[in-house]
C-alpha cells in the first residue's frame, strides 16, 4: 500500500467537502493510504504571497515539515492553489537568501519531499490502464469536458507535470471511465479565481465563457480538479447565468467524483449530492443503448 501524506487545505473542510470525501474513496479503492498531516494549517494562499515571500513559504512549509516528520516522502493535495504554496515553500528552502529564516521558522528543510496534486497522483501512481480495468459502471455515451484550471500544470518549470498549454492527464483518466472527451480549448484558462468575492463580474465573464464553450462542444458536465474553479463554475453558475443572460445548467463534478462513479461507488458516498447544479444526468446508464461492446468496463 502506498503511503502518501495528505494535505487537505481549508476549502476541503468547507465548501469542497465532497472533494475531500471522494478523494478518500478513490484513493482507498486503489490502495493508496492517505496520511492526514497532523494539525495542518492554511497555506496562506494568494494573500500570503502578496504579503511577503517568507510568510507564504513558512505557512505552507510548516505542513511539509510535519509530513516529513510523519515519515512521508510524498505529499498530495487536491487543491492546486495549496500545491503552488507547497512548491513555493520548497523553492524558498532552496533559495540561498530565504533558506535560513525559513528553516528557523519551520524547524527543518523540506526540499526533499515530492509534492503532487491529486490529479498527478491518480495519473502517475494509478494510471488510465488500472482505472479502465477497475471500471464497473462505464460512463459510455457521456460527453465530459476536462477543465484543469490555471495552476495545475503552470508554470511548467515548477509544476513539472503534464503540458502547460494542452494538458492531457485528465483527458486520459476520463477516457478510461468510458466517457467521450472532446478537445477543450479552455483547459487552462482562468476561471476568475478569488474574484468571486471582490469582483463578481469577473467570474461572470471568465467562468461564463468556459461554461459557454462547454455547452458549445456538447459537454454534459465540466470536470474539475480545483475547489476554487468548482465554486466559480458550480456555486456561482446562477450568478453567471444572470450576468451573461444565459440558462446554462452544467454539473461541475470533481475528477475524483467522476472516477468514483465509474468505479461503481454510491454517488452519496462521493458527495455528489453536495454539488449545486444537479449531476443526475451523469447517472444515466447509456452503456446499454450504446451497445455493451463499446463499454471499456465490459472488456475488462
Amino acid at each position: 500500500m502506498k503511503r502518501v501524506a495528505y494535505y487537505k487545505g481549508c476549502s476541503l473542510e468547507g465548501l469542497a467537502a465532497e472533494y475531500d470525501r471522494s478523494t478518500h474513496a478513490v484513493c482507498e479503492a486503489f490502495g493508496i493510504e492517505l496520511v492526514e498531516i497532523a494539525d495542518w494549517n492554511c497555506c496562506g494562499s494568494t494573500p500570503a504571497h502578496s504579503y511577503d515571500p517568507l510568510l507564504s513559504a513558512a505557512l505552507a512549509g510548516r505542513n511539509l515539515a510535519i509530513a516529513a516528520d510523519q515519515g512521508c516522502d510524498m505529499v498530495m493535495t487536491p487543491c492546486p492553489g495549496c500545491l503552488k504554496s507547497l512548491k513555493g515553500a520548497q523553492e524558498a528552502c532552496e533559495d540561498p537568501g530565504l533558506r535560513k529564516p525559513f528553516v528557523e521558522l519551520v524547524g527543518r528543510d523540506v526540499d526533499g519531499l515530492k509534492t503532487v496534486s491529486l490529479l498527478q497522483l491518480l495519473y502517475e501512481e494509478v494510471g488510465p490502464v488500472a482505472i479502465k480495468k477497475a471500471v464497473r459502471r462505464p460512463l459510455t455515451g457521456h460527453v465530459l469536458i476536462p477543465y484543469y484550471g490555471c495552476l495545475l500544470t503552470r508554470p511548467a518549470q515548477k509544476a513539472k507535470f503534464d503540458d502547460p498549454e494542452n494538458p492531457v492527464s485528465m483527458d486520459r483518466l476520463l477516457e478510461a471511465t468510458g466517457a467521450l472527451v472532446p478537445d477543450f480549448p479552455y483547459k487552462t484558462e482562468c476561471c476568475g479565481a478569488t474574484y468571486g468575492v471582490t469582483r463578481n463580474d469577473f467570474v461572470g465573464k471568465l467562468s461564463g465563457r468556459i461554461l459557454d464553450m462547454t455547452a458549445r462542444l456538447g459537454g454534459e458536465a465540466i470536470v474539475v480538479a480545483c475547489p476554487l474553479c468548482q465554486q466559480n463554475l458550480d456555486m456561482r453558475q446562477d450568478q453567471i447565468n444572470k450576468y451573461q443572460k444565459s440558462a446554462l445548467h452544467l454539473p461541475v463534478p470533481y475528477i475524483s467524483q467522476v472516477i468514483g462513479l465509474a468505479l461503481g461507488m454510491d454517488p452519496k458516498e462521493l458527495g455528489m449530492d453536495k454539488l449545486c447544479v444537479s449531476p443526475d444526468i451523469l447517472f444515466e446508464d447509456r452503456a446499454e443503448a450504446e451497445g455493451k461492446a463499446q463499454g471499456p468496463g465490459a472488456a475488462a
Binding site: 503540458d163 502547460p164 498549454e165 494542452n166 478537445d183 480549448p185 479552455y186 464553450m213 458549445r216
Partner: protein, 652 residues
Amino acid sequence: MRIGVFVCNCGTNIAGTVDTAKVASEALTFADVVYATNYMYTCSEPGQQEIQRAIGEHGLQGVVVAACSPRMHEPTFRRAVEKAGLNKYMFEMANIREHVSWIGNDKAANTAKAADLVRMAVAKLRFNQPLFSSKMPVNKRLLVIGGGVAGIQAALDCADGGMDVVMVERKQYIGGKMAQLDKTFPTIDCSSCILGPKMVDVSQKENITLYASSEIESISGYIGNFTVDIRKKATYVNWDACTGCGACMEKCPAKNTPDVFNENLGSARAINIPFPQAIPKKAVIDARHCRQLNGKKCGVCAKICPVKAIDFEMKDTIVTEKVGAIIAATGYDLFDHSVYGEYGAGRYPDVITGIQYERILSASGPYGGHIQRPSDGKEPKNIVFLACVGSRDASVGRPYCSGVCCMYIAKQAILTKDHLPESNSYVFYMDIRAPGKNYDEFVRRAQEEYGVQYIRGRVAKIYPRGDRMVVQGADTLLGVQVEVEADLVVLATGIESSAGAGELAEKLRISYDQYGFYMESHPKLRPVETNTAGVYLAGACQGPKDIPSSVAQGSAAASKVQSLFAHDTIETNPQVALVNERNCIACGKCIQVCPFGAIQWKELRGGIKKAEVLPTVCQGCGVCNATCPPKAVQLQHATDNQLLAEVNELCA
C-alpha cells in the same frame, strides 16, 4: 639570435589600457632582444617598413610583434619579414589585444601581462628554425554539397569558367527550398520560372556531374587534393534507363504516401517524381511506403515501366571523387512549430506553415493553385499570418531573427488578395524587418494597396471555435487584447540549420555555431571562407538568408574557388609533425591516435620499422606529439622545446 620586438598601439585599442612604450622598454631586457619599439599601427605600410628597416639596420634574425590575434595579421607580418630576407617562420606574434587590452581596464596589470606574453614569444622564437614549404599540384575539380539556389549558382559559375564540378544533393531533385516556392519577393516573379533554367543548365552542362539522392559519406585530404566518398542511396529505379515518363506513378497502388514536396498536404505515391520540372526527372521509390519492398505482393511499377528501370534489389553504393575544393551549400530547414502548445502544436489542420501556404498558392501544388483550407476544402475569407514563430524566441531556443519571414508574409498576403479579392488578411508582427532593396516599399504596398491589416503584437493563443480558428493576441499600439476569427492561419515558421549540418561539418572539419550554422572565417572580411583551407560556404547553411543573398554568396564562393584554381600548385604548410627516426621506438601509438591517418609505417634497411608522417595529409594538430613516449614526433613550429620555453618564462 638577434631579436627585434615591435609593440603595436593599435590606435587606442591597445594603448588605451596598455603602456606599450613600457612593454617595449622592458622587452629590451629579455635575452637576445637587441631592438624594441612601439608603433601606432604596426600592420600599416609604414609599420611594416619600420620592421623591415630595423631588420636591416640591426641585423635582426627574428622578429616578435605584440599586437592583435594572429588570425588576421600573422600572414601580413610573415610576408613583411620574408621581404626583408628572413625565413617567415622566424617570426612570433604576442596577442596583447584580444587577450589583454580588450578584456581588462587595469593598465598596470595589463602592461605587466603584455610584457609576460612578449617574454614568452621571445623565449619561443629563440628555438625557432627556418621552415620551408613544398609545392603540391591542385586538382582543379570542385565539389558542391547541396543543390539549392546557392549551390546551383556556385556550380554554374565554376562550370562556366571551365572547371569540372561535382554536385551532391541529398534529395532526389535539385532546386532546394526555392523549388517549393510559388512567387518571390519583392518582384513577385515566379520562382520556378527563374530557377528552372538554372536547374536545366546544371543537368545539361557537360562538366557538371550531378549525384542526386546522394550524401557525403566521408572526406579526406586537404586543400587542392580532397578525396570524397559519396553514398548513392538506393532509389530502386535505374536512372540510366528511367525516362521520367511517370507511368509508374499513375499506377502505383500505395496512395497514402506522404507528399513531402507538397509539405504533406495531400498524398503522393510510393514511386514518385515530385514535380513536373524536377531535375533530374527520375522516379524514386519511397522504401517505407512501397508495398513490394515491405513484403507485400505488388510490383505494379515494374510491370508498367516501358524501359524496365525498376530494380527492387538495388542497394546503396559508394563512389569516390577527387576534388581540389569544396563548397558547402546545404541550406536550411524550417522550425517545427509543434513545440508551440498555445498554437495547437500542429493538431489543427487549418493552422499551417508558410511553406505549406507556398504549396497551396502554387499552380502545381496540391490544390492546383486554388486557395482552400486543408480541413474541408473551403475557400478562406479571413486569413491570419503570424510572424516570428520559432524566431526571436529565446524560450524555444531560437533567439535570432530569420530575416525572411516579414517579407514572405507580405508577399503571401499580397498574393492572397490577388487570388481571392474578397478576402481579408491580418498580420501579427513585432517589428518589420525589411532592409533590402525595395523591401520596405513592398511591405508598405501590402498595407496601402492591398489593404492587409498589420497588427503590432504577438499572438498568445490559437484555438478552434466552431469551424473557425480564434487567433487571440494583443495590439500593443492600442494596448488592448484582440482576437480575429480566422478561416486559415499561416505560421511564418523561422529558419533553422539543416538537419545533419553538424555531422557534415565534422566530416568537413569546419566549425558551426550553437544553432548549427556554419562559421565563416571572418564575419565581415572572409564571409564565404571557413577556417579549413579549401572549404567554402554559400547560402543559408551559414545563417538565415534570402534568395538574392544566397545567390550572391554562391557567386562569391565560386570566385574564391576560381582564384584558388588559377594556380597549378599550392604551397604546403610546413607546420606539420616530423619523426626523429633515431628516437622512434616503433610503438605505433602515433599511428593509432592520428585523426587524419597521416602517419604510416616505414621500413628501413634490415626490416627495422619506424613511423613516418605524410606531410600533405598531416593537419598539424599535435596529438601524436603529445602521445609519443620518447618524444620522437615533434610538431614543427610547436615543438616541446618551444612550448616549454614559453612555460618556463611564464613560471620564472
